[in-house]
Amino acid sequence: MAQKITLTKEVEDLLKGRGLSKDDVAQVVDDVEATKKKFYLPKENKYLGKKIIGNVTAYTIYSPTTEKDVFAIHSAYGHKIRMKEPVRLITEDVQEWECFTCKQKAVSGTIDMEYLGITRAAPGITCPNCKLSFIEEDIATKTLVIAETLLEKKRA
């Protein structure tokens, strides 16, 4: 079932700047609400979910609203570098996000990523139980964006 989303002008502008559309975000929310593969931030009542759309892994941070099946979008971001699997968990570095399914706090760690056939590691957050993993917003929009550009440039 298609979920409805609401977003402010500021968030809409942010999406545009990051090459994402409202439809991309709606797809992420739809998919995440169907699979329940998401992280939850209890103190802010926010969810973090992701979906691969074309060559981009798109992430959305959103919250339920008072209306059934309507979600407020807080932010969205993406990266082209493709996530493979977590290779190292730092179990004592406990994060505020928790796995919605496993009810376990996420931990930071190192995740293998692949781009242009090149596998390299990046910092991420992972559920220690089911290994569901995410890249945080600032790492995706700063570190990985530059890394993708450098990989493209150096590979050329």
């Binding site: 570098i81 781009y115 390299r120 590691a121 990046a122 700063k142 530059i146 890394a147 450098l150 150096k154």
Partner: protein, 370 residues
């Protein structure tokens, strides 16, 4: 003569090849052979007829000399300039160069007693950008950006956070604090890490990105127990990198673990790793850290950088440098995320060029990919 007139222009044919070689480990496109990076700093100035002091007090000259010498040694296609006691004047220290040493903290140290730690103010990004350390970096990088743009990589050098804190207090006293007053050490380390992160962010703000060089230098297995290295060094490097990445620094990270890391090297697997991370370890006990062990432990996480002993580079003979280089090069073909052959620390300024040329010869003879 201006600095621009001191050195011949870069041979761009060499530079193109060196760039392909340099990029190889990071993008899985092996070019011809494994690169060498003997961490050339004041050695470049000395090799060009200047003094050690010239290198540190004249960053434009220093970084231009490294660029020129890198080309002559067929080493890196990028240039750099840094020293160890960075970001300390911003925390109240007075530093001074001598004829043979880079900036050294002068007595009296800014932290004399525990109360001084509480009083210490962390400069924000704007304040760091107006400070002593940043102004030297900006002179070096502005020069390269203008005159040698093909060799430009802005580097934020964090050195060893534990050693930086120790310099503010006095190394012996700080090591005693580590044992007897750990909370006080944590308080100071947090302030040092925040200052250094602000330095990284200031550089990223000015140049768009900033490669981060960090070290476990005083925090080594000879001085601290492994658990102490984790608590007083690795955890703060994680904090520093996280904050700096959030502020736009990185994505390149180079961990330069100088000294003996026989007891703690495994713990550095918990350091922050980005797609462009180099793990460089100097010693295992009194011997150079074996390249095969480095490949086995870190080859699936990062680009590895084993070392040739700087004592050997200084004393020679070239045949011994060649043999050790060969021994360290042979396991590197198994490094899945690439490798560079380095030195255990900065090549001594007065090391004979024949030592570095012996490393180069070994790389040409035994570091070929095919």
């Amino acid at each position: 003569m201006s600095v621009e007139e001191l050195f011949p222009k870069t041979d761009m044919t060499w530079h193109e090849k060196a760039t392909k070689r340099f990029a190889g480990p990071f993008v899985d496109v092996p070019y011809d052979r494994i690169d060498i990076d003997p961490i050339i700093l004041a050695h470049a100035a000395v090799a060009c007829g200047y003094g050690i002091r010239d290198f540190y007090e004249k960053p434009e000259l220093g970084i231009a000399a490294v660029a020129y010498i890198n080309e002559l040694y067929d080493a890196l296609p990028v240039t750099h300039w840094f020293y160890s006691n960075v970001w300390l004047p911003e925390l109240g220290a007075t530093v001074k160069c001598t004829k043979t040493l880079p900036y050294i903290v002068q007595e009296p140290r800014p932290i004399q007693n525990p109360e001084d730690v509480d009083k210490l103010k962390v400069p924000d990004v704007d304040e760091v950008a107006k400070g002593f350390t940043f102004s030297l970096y900006a002179r070096a990088y502005d020069y390269v950006k203008k005159n040698l743009p093909h060799m430009f990589v802005p580097i934020h050098y964090a050195f060893c956070l534990y050693a930086m804190a120790a310099e503010l207090v006095g190394p012996e006293k700080f090591i005693m604090w580590t044992i007897k007053q750990p909370k006080l050490c944590h308080k100071l380390l947090k302030k040092v890490a925040d200052t250094s992160a602000n330095g990284a962010i200031a550089l990223a703000n000015r140049y768009g990105f900033a490669m981060m060089v960090m070290g476990g230098v005083l925090a080594n297995s000879t001085v601290l127990r492994p658990q102490q290295i984790k608590e007083f060094a690795i955890d703060y490097h994680r904090y520093l990198v996280r904050k700096a990445l959030k502020g736009g620094a990185g994505p390149q990270l180079w961990y330069h673990l100088c000294g003996d890391h026989a007891g703690d090297y495994q713990l550095w697997k918990d350091a922050y790793i980005t797609p462009f991370t180099v793990m460089h370890i100097g010693y295992h006990g009194r011997e150079v850290f074996p390249a095969d062990l480095l490949v086995k432990e870190f080859g699936n996480l990062a680009t590895v950088m084993p070392s040739v002993d700087t004592k050997l580079l200084y004393f020679g003979p070239p045949s011994a440098v060649y043999e050790q280089s060969k021994k360290q090069l042979l396991p590197l073909k198994e490094a899945k995320r690439g490798a560079v052959l380095g030195a255990t620390c900065e090549v001594p300024p007065n090391a004979p060029p024949s030592s570095i040329l012996a490393m180069l010869k070994a790389a040409r003879d035994h570091g070929k990919y095919v």
